[in-house]
């Protein structure tokens, strides 16, 4: 497998040191990495996940609003960051791979390298305490 771009390597290294849940996707929107704090939101350890492709996110995590209405893929922050190359923020519900529904805040931003290369996007999550 080819080596990743240096910006992605450094982003993954930074994420692995941070206490905030962080997901890293490539320019197609496919999962590249999530850090240990994100395991609590995803509901599995990174090493237990084989692949998550762009089109699989909504089916796997069933994002929905406060009323339980499904959120379309194109309205999710990571999709906006990739497709529109814009930062995006949303508060919504997801269901982890452990079957637990969690309310999260999610900010995503695109990673743009030198010469305007779109490398992927970063998603940062905060779990909202609903107790």
């Amino acid at each position: 497998m080819a080596q990743r771009e240096i910006e992605l390597i450094l982003m993954r290294q930074l994420a692995s040191y941070l206490a905030q849940p962080i997901l890293l996707v490539n320019a197609n929107g496919d999962l590249l990495f999530f850090n240990e704090p994100a395991e609590a939101i995803v509901g599995k350890r990174f090493d237990e996940i084989v692949d998550i492709r762009r089109g699989e996110w909504t089916a796997l995590f069933k994002p929905s609003d406060n009323h339980g209405a499904p959120i379309k893929r194109e309205d999710l922050p990571l999709t906006i960051a990739i497709d529109k190359r814009q930062p995006a923020h949303l508060r919504y519900w997801i269901q982890g791979l452990d079957g637990v529904r969690r309310k999260v805040e999610n900010t995503a931003f695109p990673l743009v390298g030198q010469a305007g290369r779109i490398l992927g996007a970063v998603g940062i999550f905060w779990e909202i305490d609903c107790a």
């Binding site: 497998m1 080819a2 080596q3 990743r4 771009e5 240096i6 910006e7 390597i9 450094l10 993954r12 290294q13 930074l14 692995s16 040191y17 390298g113 030198q114 010469a115």
Partner: protein, 279 residues
Amino acid sequence: MKVTLWGTRGSLATPGPEAVRYGGNTACVEVRGEDGSLLVLDAGTGVRRLGDTIRPEIGRVDLLLTHLHMDHVQGLGFFEPLFMPGLPVHVWGPSSTTEDLGARLCRYLSPPLFPVRLRDLPCRLVLHDVVQLGDFRAGKFEVQASLVCHPGPTVGFRIQENASSMAYLPDHEPALGVRNFPEEPEWTSGFELASGVDLLIHDAQFSDDEYPRYVGWGHSSISHALRFAELAGVNTLVPFHHEPSHSDRLLDELYERALASRRLPFELAPATEGASFEI
């Protein structure tokens, strides 16, 4: 392909009796193709002596800059081919996110830092931004350039001529932020450039004891260089960019210790000024 080291020192030129064998000039490497065509890797202070061996009849010079830190460009203003009227000199190097290569070079090659301006050089200067190019041909050589882990825009080069290959990563800290270096190849800075090359010239600035004090400065320890070379499966590793405070005697000790510590699956040839390698 013949590779000759004209400058092996990192960070600062280090002349003196304690740096006679490993050398005191900063980064500069000559690569000669089978037909005599020339690539120059970096323009540290070592490039002055190399420049004095080049005649206008060569027809073309390609100078590849990994980045623009002073120890890699300080010799530029003393590189004789730049002053040969009409000689095509192609300079390949990284732009930044806000300035192209020409603007960045002008910061050094203009007053007050230098009396001669880039635009006043009599050679036929052609500048190429390697970040945008990625893969390119420089004369007879096939070159791959990729950004690597070092502060500021910095590339490494992989150079191929027929079946011979070498990689040049003089300033490189692939272990930065990696808990158990090395990680998988896919997530290791510089891996693709160095993978399977005949000759790898790689940063080994610090001893293992020194490295923890300089994490994030963009350089490798000797152990990191050895592990990176092992991961990349190279035939020969040339540890390079020696720390200015390291004397010949200390460098001998450090590499004797490195050789004694583990069995290496490649040849180890610490860079000494004037050394040549036939690939």
